[in-house]
């Protein structure tokens, strides 16, 4: 530790006469401000809860009606529930972009391959988390039924407009090919359990993905299908079969001599669907492409018991 015998002219002397502190009235005023501030912080950290552990009502009302403007403006609203109650999976967004000429492209956000620096990639991970944070389970017993908030629907429209602007195409003559519609899925990518690692599951295993359909939007953000407040749960094998049948196999048939992985790359097919072909090359066979029950084919390749069963979606009102 430092020797007091060494002269350190920069260090202040505590015997300095000016080191007395503030006057009494300043102490009183500042003390009141301190108490008010920590009261506000307490309402922020106490007013968050879960269905199993709801927050105390006095904290909720104090936060809503007293401290919300202060906390909101200063961005001190975080209740610091980091990885609580349990660590959750990451979320991705899958966009299916359909152009006016009928061509299709998929977009997975965020795609780690597009980012050299960590920070902008993490910002986009947060963007992808939006639908999870804007959605809430309707029933604790059935987490597949999720309601999207009003802000979430506004955000979805905005995402559609953004994607339509940013991923517009041009034909060979340089003429713009406008985007006709954008379909949005929010996808939970579950973490591998230890027993799955022992069985040899890959991180991009199809069974780890849980998609929820948000909606189909025009390039101006207007929802084209019958919009509801619910995010529609889709069984991943069903969605994968749909993508294979509607987007991938027609391209394979159109260009039978082209490299399949090039086509998949051009289409921007999401990772777990691409991984299907690497793991099960038999899906590239012509007779597999023509089969009508692709969902069952995919499930049999993996082992049916590992896929979730279909869920009944809630009655739309």
């Amino acid at each position: 530790m430092p020797s007091d015998a060494v002269e350190r002219p920069e260090a202040p002397s505590t015997s300095d006469a000016s080191s007395v502190g503030p006057r009494r009235w300043v102490k009183v005023v500042v003390s009141l401000l301190i108490c008010a501030h920590w009261f506000a912080i307490c309402t922020a950290v106490l007013a968050a809860g879960t269905p199993q552990f709801p927050p105390p009502l006095p904290a909720v009302y104090a936060r809503l009606y007293v401290t919300q403007p202060y906390l909101n403006f200063l961005f001190l609203t975080n209740p610091y529930r980091f990885y609580a109650p349990n660590p959750g999976p990451a979320n991705l967004i899958w966009f299916r972009i359909e152009y006016a000429d009928g061509s299709v492209r998929w977009l997975e956000v965020p795609d780690r391959r597009n980012w050299r620096l960590r920070m902008p990639y993490q910002r986009h991970l947060c963007v992808a988390l939006l639908f999870d944070q804007m959605g809430e389970s309707v029933s604790p017993e059935d987490p597949t039924v999720r309601r999207l908030s009003a802000q979430g629907r506004v955000a979805a429209s905005s995402f559609a407009r953004y994607v339509a602007r940013k991923y517009a195409r041009q034909d060979e003559n340089g003429q713009p090919i406008p985007v006709a519609r954008v379909t949005i899925y929010t996808v939970m990518h579950s973490v591998l359990e230890p027993h799955m690692v022992q069985k040899g599951w890959d991180i991009n295993d199809l069974r780890l993905y849980t998609p929820f359909y948000i909606g189909t939007f025009g390039p101006d953000g207007v929802q084209l299908d019958k919009g509801t407040e619910f995010m529609e749960y889709r069984v991943i094998s069903d969605l994968a079969a749909h993508i294979l049948a509607t987007d991938i196999y027609p391209e394979f048939r159109k260009h039978p001599d082209r490299d399949r992985s090039e086509i998949l790359e051009e289409l921007g097919i999401p990772r777990p669907i691409r991984a299907l072909f690497y793991r099960f090359p038999e899906l590239l066979r012509q007779d597999d492409m023509d089969r009508p029950n692709l969902k069952e084919v995919i499930e049999q390749l993996f082992g049916t018991e590992d896929f979730p069963k279909d869920r009944q979606t809630p009655t739309r009102t």
């Binding site: 502190g21 552990f53 529930r81 609580a84 993490q122 910002r123 802000q151 905005s158």
Partner: protein
Amino acid sequence: MSTILRAVWNYVRNLGRDIVQGWNYFWFQPIDPVPLAFVRLLTGTLVFYIYASTFGETLNLIGPEAWIDQQAIQEIRAIHEEMQTPFERQSNRSYAQSIWFYVQEPWLVLTLQGIFLLASLCFAVGLFSRVSNLVVWLGHLSFVHRGYMAWFGMDSVLSMLLLYQLIGPTGATLSIDRLIERYRLARRALASKGRIGPEDLALKPSWTANLSLRMIQLHMGIIYLFAGLAKLQGDRWWYGSAAWYTMVVPELELFSMRWLANTPPWLYVTLVFAATYYTLIFEIAFIFLVWNRKLRPLMLLGAVALHAGIGLFMGLMGFGVAMLTGCAAFLSPEGLRWFLAALFSGKEKLRMSYDRRDPNALRAVALAAAADPFGQVTLAPSTERGVQVATEDGKVHAGTAAFWRLFSALRCFPLVSVAAIGAFPSANPESVPQTVARS
């Protein structure tokens, strides 16, 4: 009966007095502002790194046609008006403000964001510290409010740090501001007394620095406490397996930790469960144990270990650095000064003699004094013209040689070297003694 009542009254009165004294000591005791300055340096550097590395994505995150575009922001801010009940309306009402709600031109967004970056650099090095602190705070708030959901825990911690640093004199030391102030004080002392004493450059203790640091300290304790308590609601944290689920998220991991699942069960349990329970115990205990002086170094080391793990295994480096910056508020001024002296203080002692009649010599002396926070240079007026610098072995250097001697001996001298060049003219070698007698 009156004896009992008097005893109770005395107890209550003494308790109240102790509480007030303790409160005053905790919040209002003037202290050396060096820990606050250190927090400023770390915060400014982190803010600069975050926004510089994201500058290319500025328009995609906060521009008028960002992911959440201007139209969506207006709809979201007005959404509370569509709610049915007063509770829902109040829950959805937003009081956030951002300059980016009003700036629409992409070129203007990028220009202002560039100015914000410059301000964060100034804040990091302590130039115009108060103003740059305010600009950085407003710029950060503007980003998180407009970015809407493109923020995470790191941004919450940064908003807290930037807010509390507005209270205290963050540029009082470890800053360009302080360097300039030391120069001015030295010039004033030379003009009035012809010499510079330690009292002329002494830093004043500051109660606002203490207040600022206490706010950061208490907030850090609350962050850890509630992060830990909330985890107790999760079965995986109780069971001990939660660390696995944080380490193997493909979207976050820097490298794979899935090999742990193929290790012997005792190793998997030891590593994963230890990491889980360590996190829980540390987070909940922090606010209670960190105030004890003997335990504080252990708690701070524990924080470094926790956030190093979070950074390495979960890829959340920015968050880890932000939390450790907040923990730096617990560093003691004496310990921090000792650490800085160990790193930056040169070993060499010098004696600098100067002619009080020579304006250039006075400027050189003031610059040397400003750049000598560790007291390596003894100053002595002399009848010899110009400036001479003598080393411990008795050799004397004058003119530009004196300049380079100071440049190599004082670690902070390069900061003032550009201003000092003209103050060390070449000396006539015949007028300079080659050695000095040891005092």
